[in-house]
């Protein structure tokens, strides 16, 4: 029962993070959402292991915590040092230009 | 010396992960850890800076203190996230970082980021640009209790 409560919170966080990933508006919002979604997935798998009575699943959660970090850093490296190109929605968010400072 | 430490750390990690202690599987673990250490040495990624840092006796106390700060900040930011009437007042400022080594500055910057409500945006040798969610958060950082504690951890042998 208590695991179900935790699972509900984690699922809610998943849904909200997913909405942020879909809405954007900037690329960095999506990367942030991806990173947070990874953390939430790690928690979800950990809770699921207990919910199903098989805590051995924690190995996957551990692997995820590692992979998620690598993925986020790779994306950010691509964004910052790779070929940024002219197209795409980076830096062109409606609230970045005039609203700043 | 460092390689031996790395090997031991890896092997302990392996033992905890595997949970099987039969001779054959232990042998696999020993061999794979050795291979990992060899590769780390070939790639020259054995850590040179932070090892002495982890041996400082005051570090665990700092971590405990930081944990308390993180919890306090968590509830504050969570309240601001959920309660409809609450307002945020983000600001950006430069905070001084008086740590002598780069590891110290990195520890400070990471501690700032780890505390919800403040994020370190850029770091230089003796300055960190911080984004704070509220003025109170900014005041906490500028009060420099965290920085002073890291300096104290850094100062001991």
């Amino acid at each position: 029962m208590m695991f179900a409560a935790a699972m509900a919170g984690v699922l809610a966080a998943m849904a909200l993070t997913l909405v942020r990933a879909l809405l954007g508006p900037t690329v960095f919002d999506r990367v942030l959402a991806l990173n947070t979604f990874g953390t939430v997935t790690v928690l979800a798998i950990a809770v699921l292991g207990f919910l199903m009575g098989r805590p051995q699943f924690l190995d996957i959660a551990l692997l995820y915590a590692l992979i998620n970090f690598v993925g986020t850093i790779a994306i950010l490296k691509y964004l910052q040092y790779g070929d940024l190109g002219a197209s795409g929605d980076s830096g062109k968010s409606p609230d970045a230009g005039e609203g700043g400072r | 010396m460092r390689l031996v430490g790395l090997y031991l750390a890896l092997f302990v990690f392996w033992l905890l992960m595997s949970g099987h202690y039969e001779a054959l599987i232990l042998g696999f673990g020993i061999v794979s850890c050795a291979a990992a250490v060899y590769i780390a040495r070939r790639k020259d990624i054995v850590d040179h800076e932070t090892l002495s840092w982890y041996l400082k006796p005051k570090l665990p106390f700092y971590w405990l203190w930081l944990l308390g700060q993180i919890l306090k900040a968590n509830f504050d930011v969570a309240k601001r996230c959920v309660l409809p009437g609450s307002r945020i007042d983000p600001c950006v400022f430069l905070a001084p970082a008086d740590q002598e080594t780069s590891v110290g500055v990195v520890t400070y910057a990471n501690s700032i980021t780890l505390t919800p409500g403040t994020v370190s945006m850029q770091t230089w040798d003796h300055e960190i640009r911080v984004h704070a969610l509220t003025r109170d958060g900014a005041r906490d950082i500028l009060g420099d209790e965290m920085g002073a504690r890291i300096c104290r951890v850094e100062g001991e042998q």
Binding site: M7, L18, L22, L34, T41, I60, A74, I75, Y78 | A23
Partner: protein
């Protein structure tokens, strides 16, 4: 709660799939694909397929994202705008029909249901494999260890040659990808040779230290 979790995860997957199909910015699609793969692996965990979840975690969320990004560096960030909406109607019908057929097979009373203990796969082979896992591997040395994981036994012992073939295929694919992506790097280096000097120097000194 398990059912509710399942439903929620599948709903997330559906929303994500729709978004991936709609969004034309490939960079965003890459990131959404990463999230999709995280969700898929969670579903695999729910289905008790731990080894598949492991693979999905390592390959789907980690390596695929990086590979997609390297591919994006070589191509464009924006997909071509859709020209003809009607042209995608044919595949759509095909996919819907296939999906309906798959759903029908799960409903057909002659097929065993999901998790049915009386299904042929569970009736004869699985108990034999489970019983033999301990015996077969540790048979020659009674005191010696046995492989503690049934999946490992199946993959590496019962289906050893099959797994070897799979490994060869994956290795070939990996080499192919490296050639495709790395070949471009050499070309770029030839065009612009300055900044790569130090890495080759570090490589040779590392070799000296290792030997």
């Amino acid at each position: 709660m398990i059912t509710a979790t399942n439903l929620a995860l599948l709903a997330f997957l559906a929303v994500l799939a729709w978004a991936i199909a709609r969004i034309r910015n490939l960079f965003v699609v890459t990131m959404l694909a990463g999230i999709y793969s995280l969700l898929t692996a969670t579903v695999f965990v729910l289905l008790d397929a731990v080894d598949v979840a492991f693979t999905e975690a390592a390959v789907g969320a980690g390596i695929t994202t990086v590979l997609f990004l390297s591919a994006l560096l070589l191509t464009d960030r924006e997909a071509k705008p859709r020209k003809n909406r009607l042209a995608s109607l044919g595949p759509m019908v095909l996919v819907v029909l296939l999906g309906a057929a798959l759903v029908y097979t799960t409903l057909d009373p002659r097929m065993p249901h999901y998790g049915d203990a009386k299904a042929p796969a569970h009736g004869r082979l699985a108990p034999e494999f489970l019983a033999d896992t301990v015996k077969q591997v540790g048979a020659d040395k009674p005191t010696a260890t046995h492989i503690p994981n049934v999946v490992t036994t199946t993959l590496a012992s019962y289906r050893g040659f099959d797994t070897l073939g799979e490994v060869v295929v994956i290795f070939t694919a990996g080499v192919g990808v490296l050639i495709l992506l790395g070949g471009n790097a050499t070309r770029r280096r030839r065009r612009n040779p300055a900044p790569r000097e130090e890495s080759s120097g570090a490589g040779s000194s590392g070799k000296g230290a290792g030997a």
